[in-house]
Subunit: 462 residues, 2 copies
């Protein structure tokens, strides 16, 4: 494509300032107190898509927050790219751990980002990565280089489960018809190591409640004689992993895809420093399933983690009480072919079956989603790979992510097209954590790489 680099150079400051304006609005979908900010952000996205050259931009109402849709159809016979992103953000808590206010974006240089990075909630996830596509669209249309049709679908409920997006997709199959779905909501291995995410883990999230005696008891008078719901809960949770950190739920691994030695060898080529990893987390060692590397444990293997636990007296000092109830939130990350609803049922059946006498157990499913894996021989993958080669001078490494974007599996099911995950963030960008940031290098590199994906996708589709 012509003069993309010079276009970026000329417009760099405006690209940054527009994103910074977007980041100033706290579009926190999880907290209804920010409802107006979320709606205001939807309006801003609408305007930015129109400015970028989209036609028929609309704010589509849902039972929750609206979905912003826009398109540019230049020739029905040409391929169509559907861009997905989200304009809502995670809550900033714990707020006191931020070095600067989460919704007052500042640019600071860091070791990994010598050109500077924008610090703000949503800088990377996903306002920054989503806006790269808006600016890439602006370039292509303003320079008459848009090589195909494009559709944008930007939602406002990704951080709270995308419940209404699924309904929207089901009800608008024709409108959303496309040849490939393009998403930037993942990461890359390193600034100089581009990668394309070829797999996402599924998710099953449940809450458990263990009930013992009908009231809190004096631990002196009853201790040792009745089942203590907290002690019981710890025993039950502990039993979910064996001594090799293998998950013990019967049937849990039945459909787990086992990668070939070749595939694992390919994965192992990704540069990774265990020392850096441990230092970054300030841990003296890693911990996980026997027989797998750290990169395999958090990508191609299913996991079970307690995300929260509570029960009894948690205030200051001491209270000698045996609690009537104990609770935990438990999530399982799943790999392709594990069906999340099936796994949720297996967990429920098993967890209820291991409850000892003296307690009753309740398992409440929260939500979940299927995993996803995309082939590396598709036109979309090849186009993305060539685009990265042009802008990074290297072939990107196919990478499985441990994270979950449940909606991706639904896209394939409903729209019958593959998703290409072109992520430009880094693990160190602290998404979902305090001091989230997004490198200026990464932001501009994304804007530079995306138009090339369009170009090669059209060429390879011929």
């Amino acid at each position: 494509m012509n003069n993309i680099q010079s276009y970026i150079k000329e417009n760099k400051d405006r690209f940054l300032n527009e994103l910074i304006e977007l980041l100033k609005v706290p579009s926190i979908s999880a907290d209804s107190a920010y409802r107006n900010d979320v709606l205001k952000t939807a309006e801003a996205i609408k305007n930015s898509l129109e400015k970028a050259g989209c036609d028929a931009v609309e704010i589509c109402k849902t039972d929750g927050y609206p979905i912003v849709y826009g398109e540019k159809i230049i020739d029905k016979n040409l391929p169509t790219v559907l861009v997905y992103g989200h304009y809502d953000v995670q809550p900033p808590d714990p707020i006191n751990l931020w070095d600067s206010p989460p919704f007052e974006p500042v640019i600071k240089k860091t070791a990994l980002h010598p050109e500077g990075a924008i610090f703000a909630r949503g800088a990377c996830d996903d306002k920054g990565q989503m806006y790269m596509h808006v600016k890439a669209m602006e370039f292509m249309s303003s320079t008459n280089q848009l090589p195909c049709n494009v559709k944008f679908m930007i939602e406002g409920e990704e951080e709270v489960g995308s419940a209404n997006l699924g309904i929207f997709v089901k009800n608008n199959r024709e409108k959303l018809k496309n040849d490939v779905i393009l998403i930037s909501d993942t990461g890359m291995i390193a600034q100089d190591v581009p990668s394309i995410t070829t797999g996402l883990r599924g998710l099953s999230y449940v809450e458990v409640e263990v009930t013992g005696p009908n009231r809190d008891l004096h631990s002196g008078l009853y201790g040792g004689a009745v089942a203590n719901p907290i002690n019981v809960l710890t025993k039950m949770i502990a039993s979910l992993h064996d001594e090799n950190n293998h998950i013990t739920i019967p049937g849990f691994y039945d459909n787990v895809e086992e990668l070939s030695d070749e595939e694992r060898a390919e994965m192992a080529k990704a540069p990774f420093s265990l020392d850096h990893y441990k230092k970054a987390l300030d841990i003296n060692d890693v911990y996980g399933e026997t027989g797998y590397t750290t990169n395999e444990r958090n990508s191609i293997r299913p996991t079970l983690d307690v995300n929260g636990i509570w029960g009894g007296y948690t205030g200051e000092g001491a209270k000698t009480v045996i609690a009537s109830k104990a609770y935990a939130k438990i999530s399982m990350r799943l790999v392709p072919h594990q069906d999340w609803e099936n796994i949720t049922q297996l967990f429920k059946d098993h967890f209820e079956s291991i409850a000892p006498k003296g307690v009753t157990v309740k398992v409440t499913p929260h939500h979940g989603g299927q995993g996803y894996v995309t082939p590396i021989n598709s036109i979309g993958y090849k186009a993305a790979s060539k685009a990265y080669q042009d802008t990074f001078g290297k072939t990107p490494i196919p990478q499985r992510s441990g994270g979950s974007i449940p909606i991706v599996a639904l896209f394939e099911q409903e729209l019958k097209s593959k998703t290409i995950l072109m992520g430009f963030g880094l693990d160190s960008d602290a998404i979902h954590s305090p001091n989230e940031h997004f490198g200026i290098f990464n932001y501009l590199k994304g804007i530079e790489t995306i138009p090339l994906f369009y170009k090669y996708f059209v060429e390879l589709s011929k």
Copy 2:
């Protein structure tokens, strides 16, 4: 003793009303907001002791709440009884579970208390039981039947650890000199089954903290690859009991007193209905150490209970986070000869030793106290036994309590005298819980029985 029953009949209403007035003042030692009420209660105790016939009644300042002391020395050559009790009460929380306001005493009939019971915080623990001694004193002195010397020591910090009582005792050995210590702060088996508590369990209370990564992590990107502090904590706590619910801390049982078959057979004579026990707690089965009965598990055996646990996301809905830290409060009930400071050290050493790589563990001792056991062949025990025989028509059953009154061991150590625990409450009185109450029958039976203890103690001491 003459006309004790007629004296009680004549003064019954006054005895009840005086106690009710005492119960109206929220003397909650744990909450500084009630400081004036606690001090006001100390004044009320002082006045009641003077009215009951004590001399030299004083409010002894401490670094915390004062100790009310009073005495009646009739003959230096006669034995001296030291009465201990406390005028502070537990916080009433959870307040919403009370059927009537905790500090607005009401008399209601219940299945176990057909004559009615006083419902209020402190009704049984310990205002009601402590005031029985004041009224017994009133009877003996007003009818010139006090057979020996008596000393009262009523504290206001029992519910918060009695920190200053220990100092007071150490500094006043001569003043507190006595031949037997008499306490009513325990229970009896049933209305028609009098019992004397011959043993109390010791206590070691610790707080543990497990730290993994230096910040909360995204459970998708890191799940399965780093030690999750909550999962680790559940594994560590679960490992503290084996499959027989035996505690696994090395050395934990080294000094545990093993009762003879005869002693266990004696204990087993105490009437106990497992069905009633389970029904009262609404549990389908009991749970505890293999090889011991329910009554043994909560009295002659040491235990380990988690009193509180917390970590990660505990709000509504779901958050896919791996917490940086997880916490638990753990208490161990100890039996005679287990030294609480030694056990605390054993716990600390063991718990830190079982921490897996990838986490660091911190154990913080809160507080503790020694267990206590009193022989059943002492003059004090025999005197109490005869007193019960007169008023209940039955020989009381010696009973080990699962609870702890750490100060009792200190009394023996500092004052070189045995403590007799004449308790008139019932397990169902809900001390430390909502709707605490004390039966009118029990209250008056205590006032009737106590003077007989004095009489027999003097007779048997000759």
